[in-house]
């Protein structure tokens, strides 16, 4: 009989006690695994939230945010100033254009004109250049579009909505999120003036465009290098060109509509926002932080993550202590047997190994039952942890998100009224969705997490079992056999 076989046999020497020990271990191990699963799930959610919201600031011209505005436009020099602020990793300038379909403007002068953004319709007032195109908008005007086009009691003829065009300095949308190009490629060099464009899926479909197709803006022919999916009908009724190209089309080569500023970490967003605002001056630019509420939410999730990690370590330590105490008890109980084994020639390490293996048999059984417990309980435990830590945050977030949306004319923030670049991409969306993001954490026991957890449990068990194993080395056979 080998040491292992003897250890397995010893583990089942007293079946009732073994069952009790395994049950206690299973609870501790199950709790440890459930906490690890919750930790991983919350960690993944935090990453997802950070990735979805990003650590971005939006810079608009001072007084130009909203539906009315004025002031001076942003410049490339200000972009360079912003880029030099500490913790800023990148600054992407955008230039918003309004493409008006040639056929609907009829004999309207096709030359570039600077127009103030119509109230309720566009971003920073006075920023958007209206230029002609041969494209037809993918969104029909409908009631909202025609209402916006109304003038007092006079109803104007049905109109075609403009198309959003944005010049971008990197492969991101007007809110700073990476573009999801579904076919073709990006624009390549976003800092050069080239007649290339990316079009939204619905706009491409409406106009029968594919990669390689051409269309015109201001009678200039653009080649489509890629088609993107923004995920919304409004977002897909858009065109992206390189920033210099948009500036050329608008005949404002040094101007920017907005700047998307990326900060190196969520923790630095607040301080960087202040620093950027100070660098640009409050009379020159408005710096907005779209993820403030989500930062609070992420902070709550981080608390849950920390709590679950502490609970994991505590449960792990408990399992280790249980093993140590059980094995110390067994060593004391079997002192005579250990003495006999030594008397007949067993080495200390052989006996120590036997007790360590015996403890691992108990841990293995506890891990199997614990894994079952974790798979059943981890979802509930994660939900309970999250709900208890984020109820206040979620309520606040929901309230604030709703309030912002309600403040918009007709509550149409995500609708067709506001082209990208005007309001930092419509902040009501992420605000309103925060509570849903918080409660949508899915804690499932993945093989990787399970393996990591059980490895940790076994490591702790070995450490716990080493103490009693070392105790066996101190047992002198003469002492335990003296009773003979």
């Amino acid at each position: 009989m080998s040491v292992l076989a003897r250890s397995v046999g010893n583990a089942f020497r007293n079946k009732i006690r073994t069952a009790a020990v395994v049950a206690v271990l299973a609870v501790a191990i199950g709790l440890a695994l459930a906490m690890l699963v919750a930790n991983q799930a919350v960690g993944a959610k935090v990453q997802e939230l950070n990735a979805s919201v990003g650590t971005t600031l939006t810079v608009n011209p001072a007084g130009g945010q909203g539906f009315e505005g004025g002031g001076e436009p942003l410049t490339t020099a200000e972009a360079e100033t912003t880029a030099s602020v500490a913790n800023v990793t990148s600054v992407v300038g955008t230039k918003a254009l309004r493409l008006q379909t040639t056929t609907t403007t009829g004999s309207t002068d096709a030359a570039t004109t600077q127009q103030a953004g119509p109230g309720g319709g566009f971003g920073p007032g006075g920023q958007q250049a209206t230029v002609s195109t041969n494209l037809t908008a993918a969104v029909d005007a409908g009631t909202l579009g025609n209402r916006n086009n109304a003038s007092g009691t006079t109803t104007l003829p049905a109109r075609t909505l403009p198309i959003t065009a944005t010049g971008i300095g990197a492969e991101v949308d007007s809110t700073g999120k990476a573009l999801e190009i579904t076919s073709g490629t990006g624009l390549g060099d976003y800092t050069s003036s080239e007649a290339k464009a990316l079009v939204g899926t619905s706009l491409a479909e409406k106009n029968g465009l594919t990669v390689g197709s051409t269309f015109t803006i201001q009678d200039k022919t653009f080649t489509i290098t890629g088609i993107f999916d923004a995920g919304t009908a409004f977002g897909n009724n858009a065109v992206y060109v390189t920033l210099p190209e948009a500036q050329t089309l608008a005949e404002t080569p040094d101007e920017l509509s907005t700047m998307i500023v990326t900060v190196n970490s969520l923790e630095n967003v607040d301080s960087t926002k202040t620093a950027v605002q100070d660098a640009l001056g409050t009379d020159k630019a408005d710096v907005t932080q779209g993820q403030r509420n989500l930062e609070t939410a992420v902070s709550s999730l981080d608390s849950v993550k920390n709590i679950s990690m502490i609970a994991f370590i505590a449960a792990l330590a408990t399992a280790g202590i249980i093993i140590m105490l059980i094995m110390v008890m067994l060593v004391r109980e079997r002192r005579r047997e250990i003495g006999v084994l030594k008397a007949i020639g067993a080495r200390n390490r052989t006996i120590g190994l036997q007790f360590v293996l015996e403890s691992l048999v108990l841990v293995a059984l506890g891990s199997v039952v614990g894994a079952v417990i974790a798979s059943l309980a981890s979802g509930g435990i994660a939900s309970a942890l999250i709900s208890s830590n984020t109820t206040t945050t979620a309520a606040t977030t929901t309230q604030r998100g709703g309030g912002l949306a309600g403040a918009m004319p007709n509550g149409t923030v995500p609708g067709g009224g506001m082209p990208g670049g005007g309001m930092g991409g419509g902040q009501g969306g992420p605000f309103g969705g925060a509570s849903q993001l918080l409660t949508s954490v899915t804690a499932s026991v993945s093989p990787g997490v399970l393996a990591a957890g059980i490895t940790a449990v076994f490591a702790v068990a070995i450490i716990g079992a080493l103490v009693p194993a070392l105790l066996t080395a101190r047992i002198r056979p003469i002492e335990v056999l003296r009773g003979e």
């Binding site: 009989m1 080998s2 020639g345």
Partner: protein, 230 residues
């Protein structure tokens, strides 16, 4: 050949110094069967522990086949117990949840013998000690006292030791079983050419061994030479 030279073991008990073994010297030839008698507390078991390297003497030496135990490190003493010594205890001291054959295999496992070889030898030894083959695979806590002592003797013989130390081997057995055990030890000593030293307070048992020593107040005297065995 076992040579014991002026062996002393002393303990402190409060202010007193106790010497259960006080200058013991004797020699045993290979294959001899000897006994040590004495009253309870006379130091018999202490002497046996010193001979079996379970305890270290205060002074003196035990030399087994020319190898001195004095000054050997613990690892070497463990090796000595594994290779050269077989113990038979009054309480048998078998591992209760192991079968008879598994108990006998233990010393061979510790000595690194291959499983098949040790299984075969364990069965042979159990046959030699006349344990019913049906009971070879039975847990030892389900065997009678006499059967357990036979298993213990088989275990003591497992690694073909030079010296078997039996501490009151019949103390927990009835008279008839005890006699069987002594006959068994005697025959094994003869067949295996193994030196056997039996500690007992049973004078009739001691009469059946070749040499009989009396331990009194830590000092050993050879009391009787029966002439039954070398």
């Amino acid at each position: 050949m076992i040579v014991v030279k002026d062996l002393v073991r002393q303990f402190k008990s409060g202010d007193r110094t106790i010497k259960p073994v006080n200058g013991v010297s004797f020699e045993l030839d290979k294959g001899s069967l000897a006994s040590i008698v004495g009253k309870s507390g006379s130091g018999k078991s202490t002497l046996l522990s010193l001979l079996g390297a379970l305890d270290k003497p205060t002074s003196g030496d035990v030399v087994v086949d020319g190898v001195s135990l004095a000054g050997l490190p613990d690892g070497k003493l463990t090796e000595y117990r594994r290779r050269d010594i077989g113990f038979v205890f009054q309480q048998f001291n078998l591992i209760p949840n192991l079968s008879a054959v598994d108990n006998v295999m233990l010393p061979m496992e510790f000595a690194g013998m291959r499983k098949a070889a040790r299984l075969q030898r364990a069965r042979e030894l159990l046959e030699q000690v006349q344990l019913d083959p049906e009971k070879h695979s039975r847990r030892t806590n389900r065997l009678s006292g006499g059967e357990q002592q036979r298993v213990a003797i088989a275990r003591a013989l497992a690694n073909e030791p030079k010296l078997i130390l039996a501490d009151e081997p019949t103390g927990n057995l009835d008279e008839q079983t005890g006699e069987h055990i002594i006959e068994l030890l005697s025959s094994l000593s003869r067949d295996h050419d193994t030196t056997i030293l039996v500690v007992t307070h049973d004078r009739s048992l001691a009469q059946k061994t070749g040499r009989c020593f009396r331990l009194q107040q830590g000092r050993l005297t050879e009391e009787v030479r029966t002439g039954l065995r070398r």
